[in-house]
Symmetry: D2
Subunit: 392 residues, 4 copies
Amino acid sequence: IPENYVQQAAQALSVRENKIRILLEQRRLPDEGWDETTIEVLLQQLSLMDSNNFPGNCGAGEREARISSELVARRHFRMGHGIGRSGDINEVQPKAAGSSLMSKLTNSLVLQVLREAGAPSTASAFVVPMATGMSLVLCLLTLRHRRKGAKYVIWPRIDQKSCFKCMLTAGFEPVIVQNKLYEDELRTDIEALEKSIEELKAENIVCVLTTTSCFAPRTPDRLEEVAKLCKQYNIPHLVNNAYGVQSSKCMHLIQEASKIGRLDAYVQSSDKNFMVPVGGSIIAGFDKNLIEEIGKTYPGRASAAPSVDMFITLLDLGKQGFQKLLQQRKHRFNHLKQELTKIAEKHGERLLDTRHNPISLGITLSSFHGLEGKSLTQIGSMLFTRCISGAR
Amino acid sequence: IPENYVQQAAQALSVRENKIRILLEQRRLPDEGWDETTIEVLLQQLSLMDSNNFPGNCGAGEREARISSELVARRHFRMGHGIGRSGDINEVQPKAAGSSLMSKLTNSLVLQVLREAGAPSTASAFVVPMATGMSLVLCLLTLRHRRKGAKYVIWPRIDQKSCFKCMLTAGFEPVIVQNKLYEDELRTDIEALEKSIEELKAENIVCVLTTTSCFAPRTPDRLEEVAKLCKQYNIPHLVNNAYGVQSSKCMHLIQEASKIGRLDAYVQSSDKNFMVPVGGSIIAGFDKNLIEEIGKTYPGRASAAPSVDMFITLLDLGKQGFQKLLQQRKHRFNHLKQELTKIAEKHGERLLDTRHNPISLGITLSSFHGLEGKSLTQIGSMLFTRCISGAR
Amino acid sequence: IPENYVQQAAQALSVRENKIRILLEQRRLPDEGWDETTIEVLLQQLSLMDSNNFPGNCGAGEREARISSELVARRHFRMGHGIGRSGDINEVQPKAAGSSLMSKLTNSLVLQVLREAGAPSTASAFVVPMATGMSLVLCLLTLRHRRKGAKYVIWPRIDQKSCFKCMLTAGFEPVIVQNKLYEDELRTDIEALEKSIEELKAENIVCVLTTTSCFAPRTPDRLEEVAKLCKQYNIPHLVNNAYGVQSSKCMHLIQEASKIGRLDAYVQSSDKNFMVPVGGSIIAGFDKNLIEEIGKTYPGRASAAPSVDMFITLLDLGKQGFQKLLQQRKHRFNHLKQELTKIAEKHGERLLDTRHNPISLGITLSSFHGLEGKSLTQIGSMLFTRCISGAR
Amino acid sequence: IPENYVQQAAQALSVRENKIRILLEQRRLPDEGWDETTIEVLLQQLSLMDSNNFPGNCGAGEREARISSELVARRHFRMGHGIGRSGDINEVQPKAAGSSLMSKLTNSLVLQVLREAGAPSTASAFVVPMATGMSLVLCLLTLRHRRKGAKYVIWPRIDQKSCFKCMLTAGFEPVIVQNKLYEDELRTDIEALEKSIEELKAENIVCVLTTTSCFAPRTPDRLEEVAKLCKQYNIPHLVNNAYGVQSSKCMHLIQEASKIGRLDAYVQSSDKNFMVPVGGSIIAGFDKNLIEEIGKTYPGRASAAPSVDMFITLLDLGKQGFQKLLQQRKHRFNHLKQELTKIAEKHGERLLDTRHNPISLGITLSSFHGLEGKSLTQIGSMLFTRCISGAR
């Protein structure tokens, strides 16, 4: 092969190697998304750094990451060790330098994304291979050690089962604060919340658990005011930000609340915000120590799959790709709003005015007034069979 | 294409379709392992049954399983909904009939495998997308609801960090029962255990947490005797069977204990027993209600990845393949024993006589007597750099 | 799994099955492109119809399509038999009903595409797993049997090595007809061509070999006038349509020539027109018998890879996708023309007026006048190192 | 990530990089087969060296290797340029340094394999992306240029359609030399062959085309004696070695014939000898110039797929893997012989004594004596429907 051809090819190779090198050095999301091949090359390199892929490796124990099925091995890029160690889900595994590096990198990228999405003061973040509900449990279990004897979680009501259940699973008693109707919107009743705190006594309260992303006519909780109270009464404040990263409003709420008052940690779904399969979430917060403590509360190693999915997706999107997604969402939300307004009018209904909810829209169903519950749920079913999913 | 060629081809196709039909009908592990294509065909069929893969689907909500990266989509066979619902990790998702079916099938196969591996009375089992440690936490959190006020977990000592940590994470107080030396072996001190129960009082005890698979010179706990005590004192009995499915002895211990006394649930790692990547475990037990309750304690949906890995691996192995793995392990263990005996003798050491431990072997290091800890750990490091991993 | 969920999923499955059924029945390109999963499902079904994938198959001969490497097997969807039989590249293989069906379908789709691209009278077409040059050789070798004793191929000059070589390889003597300069354009010299025919005598001429797609300032040959002569003198007319399917003008030339005069077969590259890897071409024509005879001239079986690539690509694009590509090309060509005009002016050069060439553009390099050849070729090299490839 | 972990991982990485480096330097088949990941890493590196995968590449011509379908791109490792240039199928493409390097490496490995399989004097070899029949055509077309005016190919009869057809396709007249029955075997009739030569005159003969691998009771041609005659009369000698690489006997015949007499080139199937999908063959010979000339006779670029398949398969097998395949074949052939002897006896038939055929076995069907042809072919059909393919 003539020298000059090879030189040009070598130059092309080095452009990719540079991308990888810069990622490893800076641990920052590239501006432009990577192509699939570069991502695969990096994953293969990382995979080869895990001991189960060492040439000549001879495992004789229970932690050897042997993979029986070729199909399974391939879909995990031959990484088998998962992430974390007994002591800490964020610790490095000696047997799995590649997987560990992948996990560390992913957490760095995720932290950057959260900061740029609207919460620049975020101090620490990591991907947990458990969905939002179970990750909230992990946060609550961590708080238990800091709040010996406390047993109540104050919770502005949101009609979402797993959110309620996570308090029960963690072994606490939810104290429900009903929302208040402001015209069309259901918003946090700050007075009732403060009353609850005073009645139960701060030292008996594990934390206040608020919610950002939710279905209209409920709106994101009034985080700033809640945070002020939490600071005043010295109570931890945990935020369920399930699908809030996609909305700059939700992220700003979190950022502002952390400035004005107290906001310890916020948890978001990886699938809902980053378009990966269900299975992971991101625990983030403004106090590095607390976030580390949560990581150390997780016993044993854990699945690397959600981290790998996030890693690939973030590199594939790049900063620009992710920002484009955010813009598209905003644009489409406005489009949906316009069109739903028209449809509502056409049928003698009206779109609810829920301006504090940047994610969800509600519509009156007054013409169905008088119908039994069953007939009402049939509307949802009719939408579903017409391939429109996501309506409530 | 001539008719007779097509007929023969159609017959070949129907053989595969029959395999799939029989699996769906009987929900039993096939005797012979399937080839990769048949497994992929089934996974694709299942994937197409999920609403995110419906033709014409138009998702407008937060649960639409849109997958951003093609690479991620492919490695998950385009399944994005995960498993479970808010209320129950084992519940069926209307939006994801295929993923749900996959999960149900996997749990059926896993139950069958556990029964055939030596615990035929097992009533129920399911794959959890969390490794053993976190799954033990889930079991403990479930028991909390049944044992209001109880706060102790009685635990025959085992030097494994995540096991100890799971009790702390669940918010309980571990009560350590030291093991007793019988010649070379460290075995459960049943008398000390009973003494603990009496001192703490049964009603204050969440459960006894025993361990089967462990490193020599410790041996599997004396499950039968512990189970008798648990029955007598009416205390739940939870077993950490981390890598015990591969050993018929460990499984028989569990089966016998459940007959003679009380054994509520046992938990095992999917990676250690079934050679899939780290990330899942199997919770099984003899009381269907308890196992269901544990499933219902998990809040929200969860990653399908560990179930898919198990599903593929079990179909790939078939009953015969899995049994062959078990036989190989036994055979190799004996081979290792023989060869280690020779090596030990050669160096003036001796293999410990730990006949109650069917999984692990110990060797004396008397010639290193007097060396500091650091020098001792260097032996492990020397093995590791020689590509022998798994030694302690 | 509840009945109604399964029903909806089954409906989704049936939509895909319908797509596949309709394709098999109608053998026509779907309007809308298929998603990757549906394509893969079909390929897997076809693959399972090949005898090497029959369950229980036991091959003992030299034609068993055993594939040694898993990686190779996967990339060919486990199809190993290739296409064709000893007697005919388009014949059905009893051992490979699936591969044969795939090949037949591909040829049907390709025929449809050629017709819709501008040559509706095309009677027959098939994919050959050889690039354009070697496929022209095959056509010439077929013509030899019809033109015993003839040894000349009349060929309006085009500066493309493999085109010239294909006549030599087939064992014929090329008779070059120089083009004529009409203002900026180099066009077929019809008079000179007719003179050649008369000099050599029709019975000594294997065929006239014309070219459509070519680099400016040459323009596509004047097919209609050549075809008239071929009809008049009763000489076969073969067209090298290498990258002409993408241009409706080239296709119309072919169609019109076949109406007005004689045009036996036209050959085009699969990679240049359909964006698949190099390796295949399509032989098409207006006389079904001749095209079949060409297929029968190919001795032995042949690679299925180019057919599979075409099959996937056409299903992926659908009719709409392919038409969109054609429109884009036209649009971009005009854009390039505009911008090159500006650049030429800026540098005191001028874009050649080559209106009969719908594919390629030329620019004067008068300011380089006086430079040696080597310095001129450096311009190409400079473009190449600036990542602009495709310039001549 | 701690330094020492990374060091060990880096060492593991370098073992693989060394494998790749050694391959590139020595261009020799590794003794031990490579694992899939190392092969994929190398293919990706090569692919990134092709200009269509250069970052920032902007193709504007007809040779840009743009690939429309992702599925197609992936299965070709994003290599789209094929191999060769207009002038020579073995020439390096400036736009495709990676593909070119892959092709060169494959040819080196293949040459080594042929030499070690029994023909150590082989001077040159290359993979052609056409099956054996069409590759023989290419050889014959090349010989035409060396044998102006010659039109006969002398051909000891073998009942295989594509073999006969390749002479016709190349435009020559086959002169069939009937075989002679020696007891059970049909062997080359050397006297009749010499008589043919004398009758036709050497200068009118393009070549003698012999065959090694064939079905019993025919045996491989008596290459040594034919080669002697070819030398004596100065006639090219071409060998159809379709599936003969797997038999050391066939390869030794070729080697010996080339020593004793004249043997110009031998052609073998890639699928039959190396277990890749149908589509390629290997042209090899003892005269480097002739082999190069054959490569130069191929007009235009060609599919890289058969080379890639061979490349992967040879690296996957390694020298040891390939030799093991050869031994297995021998072993299984003997086993088949034994068992067929028993079956023949059981049914009052007898295995033919065809000791000169190391590949194929024949059995008498005397009890079917008197049956029409149709009934006889039904035996084959019965075997086929019982999943035994490969019988004639």
